[in-house]
Symmetry: C2
Subunit: 388 residues, 2 copies
């Protein structure tokens, strides 16, 4: 049975009596949760294997107060986006990379991860469920209305949030006896409101990660500790915080939710993924694209001194793709960098989003199209018999 | 209406047809969850104040998949114990210190904490609810049967686990818009099975905390990252892991769930609480007790070299109270320390547990008795009308 359509009551959707689908006001979207209709949930005992989960209506989950995630932070997340291409197809960008990163993280946090195949399949199912794709599978996608859930090209995306969390009860410090793999989605616009470029503040009081910690995996434990820095910086008018390395305090590491690059001459440099830096998928892709257009890309320690002398600075991440840094403030020093149409960051942003949106051909094999006929062999099985 | 009694079906309880209360097999208890009957739950919007929560039947909670705790590890926990004294009273050990530590942690993680008064009151209510105290409030406590939920003196305790977690939905990295303060309990025995002393392994690959991180507060984010070390160490026959400082790797910091002390001559030394060490309540109490009996106590950086030359080493924590370290393994070097009846750790353990159990008079003002008449002004209001 195909899922029926329930227009959301969120204020970010408008509804007319004669409209069958919700209309997302993409121009007004930021990066906040707009609940969609379905989520994916799978459970697995420690040491066993995840098998196929279920697409269920989006909503609260039930969890033990003694769960590993609630008591000891045993959790990983991923973030990726579904895009609508110019010709109406719905695509994902390198979801296999997210799947692999979740496996690496699960090894670090001693969790049982879903297989990469199951991960990608689950992501596809979740996107399909939230796009009513199955409903219109017989209509060529180019005839779909523009205000369909996955946004029109160039305006936001459907953000996908896979979680792997320890949901089994555990009182002494140990691996949880049960894990939940869950995926929910939300239409999103820009992560940062700044239209020109980011204004970063170098944080001298807090560090994000240390050698032998979890900075190199997408553990939930890396994020709540940076909220204080972020709030302090934003209250002083900054867009975000740039963290230095914990060992020496001399090298730049990462912004709260994105990787950082500097440009000097023909050389693009970014800190290495040696355990304290998140191995960003956008970071990796942008490095490759920069090389393609003739830049040298160096992954190595980048000192604050080099940052201050750079011509350009930019950040990369799934949420923001590529974003120019307009200024960096280090103590009382405020450095301004090149931004705008002629900046490398603008060029790289365009190249990458053109691939993601299907404007140019993907010669890298990065784009995974969600075939709406996937539903005929796996998706309906999952929802058959459910009243969704 | 007073709560009725539901004997647990846990295998750690036995039941006889003629016994009204459950009988905990205290000798077989380790440090694993044995669910009790009730928990405390209070909710609060960000920036508002927690008001009185509710005592509800222990069970799973309902939470948004987008909650701060599930995605970004925005959570703190506490741990304390309820003891049965020799004369049948039920007491808590310095619960105000847990309350204050939760406030400090909440400030670090940008959460809204319960007031210390509410915290202590909620802990008392939770213990009362799980001891059927209200049921027998007219019976002098010295007539209570020995196998009542709070264990007989000297055999385990009722462990109390307060949690403060970000339960509001938050997609971009930020403070959650809603917090939940929850308390559950579990009868527990010894944290470590080792009867003589701990065998610690110094970890050379992982670090627990760094300057500017969250090592100084009881954040959930400090714990899942140490599970890997712990599993590796236990698989090699060690009891636990000793972490070195992230900055230099030369000083000792903390064991996975407890503080560490060394003794040389008349001087007891322990690493300082300068941001990377958890300010343990047992640590603080033991420092004071050691001074009382004539030792010099120094809170300062303690190098690995000093550790290797110490006469005695011991750990402190709520779960284990005071536990002697029998050996420390550093690379291929295995050092043996004094343990047993004549060890300082044994003496300090006895002094502290005698205070906690009410064997000796508490001249410090550390013991908080749970007055079973507390129920007459606040507890019954909370459960009135509920079918528990």
């Amino acid at each position: 049975m195909a899922p029926s359509v329930h227009p959301s009551s969120s204020p970010l959707f408008t509804s007319k009596a004669d409209e069958k689908y919700a209309n997302v006001k993409w121009d007004e979207l930021g990066f906040a949760l707009v609940p969609t209709d379905y989520m994916y949930v799978a459970k697995c005992k420690q040491g066993e294997r995840f098998s196929k989960g279920e697409i269920v209506p989006y909503g609260d989950i039930s969890i033990s107060p003694c769960a590993g995630i609630l008591n000891y932070g045993q959790g990983l997340f991923e973030g990726l986006k579904a895009y609508r291409t110019e010709d109406g197809r719905i695509t994902l960008f390198r979801p296999d990379q997210n799947a692999i990163r979740m496996q690496t993280g699960a090894d670090r946090l001693c969790m049982t991860p879903p297989s990469p195949e199951l991960f990608v399949e689950a992501v596809k199912q979740t996107v399909l469920a939230n796009n009513k794709w199955v409903m219109v599978s017989l209509i060529p996608s180019r005839f779909l209305p523009f205000w369909f859930y996955v946004p029109p090209p160039g305006k936001g995306a459907l953000y996908i949030r896979p979680l792997l969390i320890g949901t089994g009860a555990v009182l002494g410090i140990a691996s949880a006896p049960e894990y939940t793999f869950l995926i929910y989605t939300s239409p999103v616009g820009n992560y940062h409101k700044a239209s020109s470029g980011l204004n970063l503040k170098v944080d001298h009081n807090h560090r994000r990660a240390h050698f032998g910690g979890t900075g190199g995996v997408k553990s939930c434990t890396n994020y709540s500790p940076v909220v204080k820095s972020l709030i302090e910086a934003k209250s002083s008018g900054f867009s975000d915080v740039l963290f230095l390395d914990a060992a020496t305090g001399k090298n730049i590491e990462e912004v709260s939710t994105c990787n950082i690059f500097i440009l000097k001459g023909n050389i693009v440099s970014t800190p290495p993924t040696s355990g304290t830096i998140l191995p960003g998928i956008t970071r990796k892709s942008i490095s490759e694209l920069a090389r393609d257009i003739g830049y040298q890309v160096q992954e190595r320690d980048v000192s604050v001194d080099e940052l201050l002398e750079a011509e350009e600075v930019f950040c990369t991440g799934t949420a923001m793709v590529v974003k120019a840094v307009e200024t960096v403030t280090f103590h009382d020093k405020k450095i301004k960098y090149k931004t705008g149409e002629k900046a490398l960051s603008t060029k790289l942003h365009l190249i990458l989003t053109n691939i993601q949106m299907g404007v140019v051909e993907d010669k890298k094999g990065w784009i995974v199209e969600i075939d709406h006929f996937i539903g005929t062999d796996s998706f309906p099985d999952e929802i058959e018999g459910k009243s969704i």
